[in-house]
Every structure is written in C-alpha cells, then in structure tokens.
Symmetry: C4
C-alpha cells in the first residue's frame, strides 16, 4: 500500500498548466459554465500512464484547487480490496463517487481520461429514447470515435449510445456499465437513464472534444424528437 | 441597540476572499450570470454564528461591493421591534427586502446561509405545478438535503418542494413561509408562486449547491412536463 | 454649430469607470453576452444633464472603445436642423441610428439613459401578442416603474407595453414612438414589432435594471403563452 | 513552392491584437462561448490581400494559439495541385478541413474572411426548411449584405439562404457550394443540411457581424416555425 507522506504533494504541484492537477480545476470550471457539473455533480479524471488524478466528491466543481486532487496508482495493487492512493488531499475530502466508473473506462477501453456530466441534454435523451440505446445519424457525428478511442465515425454511420438504468449509489453502476461496454464494444459513451453520461478518450483533449460532440448530438437529437423529426435516416 | 461607529466598517473589511463581505459580491455576480438575480431581484445572505451579512435592496446584484454589505446581530435583540444593525453601508442603502424571509431559514432550520432567486425555471415550475407542491422523483435529487440541513435525499425518494402564494410586498411572505416550513418539516426550499424560490443550507457552500441542484430539478421537471413525461414514478 | 477641436476629446477621457464614455463600452459588452446587441444591433446612450453620450452605428457593440463615443448637447440648438455635436470620433464613424429614438426618451420622459435591444424575447413577444400591447400580470413586475421614471409597479398591477410597427429605417420610428409614448403616458418601454424594444430610466442604472426586468417578463410571457398559460389574471 | 524556414514564423508573430494570427484564437474563443465550434468543429479564416490565415483541423477551437496558425498564399500558385504554404505550425497539425470551402468565398465573392459554424440554430433551420433555401422576411435582416459583400438588405426584402446537402468529407462540399454560390449570386451565406453554415464578408468584422445576424435569424426563424408563425410575409 502506498504511503502518504509530505512528498506526495509533489504529485499535484506543478507550474505547467497542462499538469493534470492544474487541468482538472480549469476544465471543471469550463464544465460548470456548460451546465454539466452544477451542484457538485459530475467531473473529469485524467490518467497518465500509471497515475490517475481524480477530483474530490461533493465539492463545488468550479472551485476545485490542485490541492484537492487525489492521485491513485493504476492499476490498483488490490483491485477487489481497499482503494490505494499515492496522494490524498487534506480536509477529510473523499475521492469522487465516480471512481469505479472512471476505472471501467481505463480497464475496458484503455482510456486516458473520462468525463461524467449531468447535462440536461443527456438526461432528456435518456427520457425520450425509452429503448436501450440513443441513436442518431446524418449529423456531425464524425467528432465521435468508435469505442471512444478508435477511428472516427462517418456522417453516414448511425451513432448508438447505450443507456443503462440508474441506481441510487453511483458505485452500483459499475457492473452494468462494464457489462454494457462489453456488449457494445463500439460504444463511445454510456448514458445513465435520468442521471447523465460517461464519456472517455485516449487523453483529456479527446475525452473533452468527444464529450462536447456527444452533448451536441444529445441536444440536437432532443430538439428533433420534440419537433417530430426522425433522428435516424435509412 | 447597536451603535454605528467607524469601527463597524471593520466587520466588512477583509483580505480573505471567503469573508462573507467578499463572498456575497462574488456569489451574486455568479448568480447574475445564471439568470437568478437580474434586475436587482434575489440575492444571498450568510450567517456566521451571531452575525448576519446581507446585501442591499434594489441594487444591481452583479455590482455589489463589500462596502454595500449590512451586518446584523443574530438573534435580533428585539425580534418584534425595530431591526438592529452592527454595520450599515453609506449612500442611504436599505437592507434586502428578503431579510425577514432569510430570518425564517435561520430560525426554523438553523441555516447558515439562504439564497433567493427569481429563476425562470422556478417560476415556470410554480405555474405548471398548480397544486401545493412541486414534486419529482428518479432524478439527481441526491444533492438535496432533508429539511435543507439534514441527510441527503436518495434517488428513490420523491422530492417535494412546497409552493406558497405570492404577495405584493416581500415581507408579507414571512408568515406563510414560516407556517409552510413548519407544516413541511422536511422541505429543503420554499417556492413562491409567480416569483421565485428560497433555498438554504448549513453554510454558503451547501446553500449554493442545493440551490443549483434544485434549479436543475425545476428546469428538467419543466422540460419533462412540457414534453408530456411524468415527473414522479411509483 | 459646435466646433470640433482637440479639447473635445477631453469629454470622453476619464479614469472614472462610471464616466459615460467608459460605461457605454462596458455595458455594451454585457448586453452582447445577454444576446441583446449581436450583429451591431442595439445599444445604450447616457445623458448627464446637458450632454448626451452615444455609441457609433454599425460597429461590433462588444468592442466599443471610449474613443468611439459621440457627445451631443442636450437640448439640440436646432431640433429640426442638422444634428450638432460636441465631440465626434475619428474613422468616419456615424452616430447610432437610434439617436432620434433615444431623444424621444429624453424629451417625453426626461430620461437619463435609454437602451435599445434586439432581444429575441422582445421580438417573440411582439409576434405572439398580435394586438397593440404586450400585457402581463402577477409576475415580478415591481422592478418596472410607471412611465419608466416614476413609482414602481405592484405585483397586482397589469404591465402594459405598447407595440409599434417597424419601419425599414430606424429614424422613421421616431414619430410613431413619440405618439405612442403620449397615448400611453404610463408606458415604461416601447416594443417594436419584429425588431426589439426601447427602455429608459432616470439614469443608466435604472434604465439597465428595467431593461433586465422587462426582458425577463417578455421571456416568461413567451414561455407561458407557448405553454398555453394565461399571462393576465383578473 | 513556398519554402518553410525559420523566418516563416514571423508571419504569425505580432504584438498587434488585430493581427490575424492573434485574432483567430480570440475570435474562436468567442465562437466557442456561442456554441458555434464545440468539439473542434467550425472556425474562421482571414485573408489579408495575398495571405490567408487558417486554423488547424481537429483541435479544440477555444485553445488555439498563434503558433498553431497556417499561412497560405492567395491565390494558390497551383490551384489544382498540392496546396502551398507560407508557414506551417509544428506538431504535425493539419490545416482546417474547411480550407477548400473558405477558398470558395475568396474566389467567388472576393471575401476577406469566412466563418464556418455548427450552430444548432443553423442545423435546425436546415431540418425545418426542407426545401432548397431558408427564407425569412420582416425581421432584422438589414445587418446582412447582398452576396455577403454588397449593399445591406432592407427590412422589406426576403432573405434567402441556399441549403446544400452534406457529404461525409468536408472538401467534397466544394463543388456544390461553388455551384450554389453561382446560381444564387446574391446569397450571403451557404447552409449545409444537418451540418452548419458558411458565412463570409469583405473583412473579419463584417464576416463576424453577418454570422451573428444570420445566426440570430436562423434562431428566430426556428422559434417562429415551431410556434406555427409564418416566417415570410407578403
């Protein structure tokens, strides 16, 4: 098990604005402006090789500081035991409730970053698409990559985003998210009914741009559905 | 009665960005961006133990300065008499019209902060829910706390926010708000029909994150209602 | 006719952020963010006693500089002759096309500031209220003042905003706006069908907060109308 | 063919905030806020006489730096051969996929700037106007210029924006965009069905203000259509 000593703080101290401990606060401020993480919900984690950087749970996402960031080893030494940390922030903070879900993106897709939003476009999509997947075609889906980490989709493809059912406790989504990622090996994201979405990419830039593309598609899809327009063309 | 002398200004002068006299202006700028306090309506007050910090009435909420902040003792020495101040700003400013309503949150719930918004999502919710309460379930209500200061609600609970009828003068809402808070001891907020909402928490962070959660729920609830979707599941 | 000499520039140079030549650029940036003045449309003028400060026509309203500001004497020495200036900016700029309309607010209501927006809420209100006035009651109209410069309206009053028909050239609205302001002496603003709204107040703060209140009311009124809710209660 | 040498970087280094290499990053940040270029889509190019400044493809448009900007000669020495550059950025960046479409605006309209957005208002307009053009009248269309570079339209004119069908690869739109610009010599922009819009002007200011006017008109047109209001009056 990793020891927590003063040197651990070196893991989150950097002058580089692109260091994960600096990026996560900045990106979360942007997500707050987009309405993705209001009321402490949602967030982003970044993995750089064998280290994962995660924001705390239950805090105002637009006010995170580098000092609030958790660092965990990847993979975890004991996947089914207690979670191991390389660095914990002070103030009795707890790591994000999304941690097991973020781990799915690392384990199942070798992702370098995972974003979770409570975007109302995503939630409305899960309400208006009562079936197992959100589907749309003939829109600007080429910003989305197959499996979230592969080749770009084409305008002529149909994007299919699986929707899993929500549970009261975030970590209880882990197994159904994992199963669904296996059943839909090309899925670039997982929607959670009445809750939000998980999106990932090979690095934070790709995770973020795919999260934006998908949110755009959820938004236009919802508008089309409400206007009586078909969202999939043959 | 508190005397107003030059030392009173020390109550609102601080280098600490988290001092209430600095926080209230900053938070109100954020609320303005969210559309919660346009046209001088709405605001936030913060109570730290025996001192209450309140913004002035009728001013542009995105342009408040620390010098504009009122400080009042809590509890008031003479609850039914003239209001007593520890510090008054210059310029003939008057304390927020919401003061008696904010006091309800302190007296009834031991709150440390109370937020009032004119959010259109809140107002539309009071128009589309013609009954006595706004209700929603199976949404991200876990950011809301029972009574506004207790344990978090669960995804499986039904959130119920009472709606009181508006009056032409803000202070005339005091009694019906107080009665309603007593009749609904678990209520985390009070909606005012055709007017807005009052939300509170044990401190400013919790008041703010709950105000965001509730506004999110009013917004998604209104969207669902207009799309013909049920907002409460059994 | 006023001469234009180097000293004229002193009229628009000030370190005071509340000087009209500094305020107009700042306020227009805010209006741009609100969607009120995109594509060079709309703006604000400020009158301080015998001097009127006006932005140029046809420029990006979020990029105005103090050096772009026109200064005109009030009243004009020759109301029916050529317009007289105390200061003109360089670069062949022309004063705002709204100048004659702003003058109506000074002449008819003794206003100290007038704001013109192309807000989509205002335009949609003029499309959904096909009659001569936009009307709403039992909303937060108490931020609006009778005639735009008098006492505040009450929650129990019905707000009535006259709508005039648009013309291809802005200055051709002058007479119908003036007539309508006389026929509706209590009107706090004039809507222009398929175009936008003119709002005024005794100073820039009151003009701005009333413009925000009215825009809020146009927005909620449009939402109510589209949801089939009555906007005036008896 | 242009050689790429260290001096080429002088083309994108300037202290002047209005230098194209500084303007493009700033303008793209603004477009991101407007929702026009999320997820790396869309952008702006600027032509100053014989030099064209273009942003890279597939990058986050709100994070462009001057160092990322491509400079190309205009006209191209070999229009049907390999594209020639005066300056290429490092990092294996590729010039915007929109380059051939931007070129249409230069060649067909002698434009000094061209903007491409994925605005949802534009996309919804192409879905609700199933015919060959988007049309609207009696709105604030006077900010739009005939052919994008000529005289201003009047309130009494009917604005007509052609809609071309999308293709999976951006460059394959070149010929149909060019044909359509020839068939509609007065068109101020070209909509692309299910994709977005191309807008141009004689310089970046006019391209930007026209893009704002047109986006405003797409937005109000969509709202009117959804509310059952006619968008063209006789």
């Amino acid at each position: 098990m990793a020891t927590l000593n003063p040197e651990a703080d070196a893991l989150i101290k950097s002058e580089d604005p692109f260091h994960p401990a600096n990026l996560i606060p900045e990106l979360c401020r942007g997500f707050y402006t987009l309405g993705w993480v209001t009321g402490t919900g949602g967030g982003i984690c970044i993995r750089v090789r064998d280290k994962v950087y995660i924001a705390p749970s239950g805090v105002q996402k637009e006010r995170i500081l580098p000092d609030h960031i958790f660092v965990l080893p990847y993979p975890q030494p004991n996947p089914h035991g207690d979670r191991v940390f390389l660095r914990k922030p002070p103030h009795n903070l707890k790591e994000s409730d999304c941690t097991p879900l973020f781990w799915n993106a690392f384990d199942q897709r070798d992702a370098g970053s995972c974003i979770h939003t409570h975007s109302q476009h995503a939630v409305m999509a899960t309400l208006l698409w009562k079936e197992e997947t959100f589907t749309i075609s003939h829109q600007m889906i080429k910003g989305v990559r197959i499996a979230g980490t592969g080749a770009a989709l084409s305008y002529l493809d149909t994007l299919e985003v699986p929707i899993i059912e929500n549970t009261p406790v975030e970590r209880d989504l882990k197994d159904s998210m994992e199963d669904t990622m296996k059943r839909f090996p090309n899925a670039a994201a997982i929607l959670v009914r009445r809750h939000g979405v998980y999106v990932w990419g090979t690095d934070w830039q790709k995770a973020k741009t795919q999260a934006e593309c998908l949110d755009y598609l959820f938004e236009i899809g919802v508008k089309m559905k409400l206007a009586g327009l078909p969202t999939v063309l043959n």
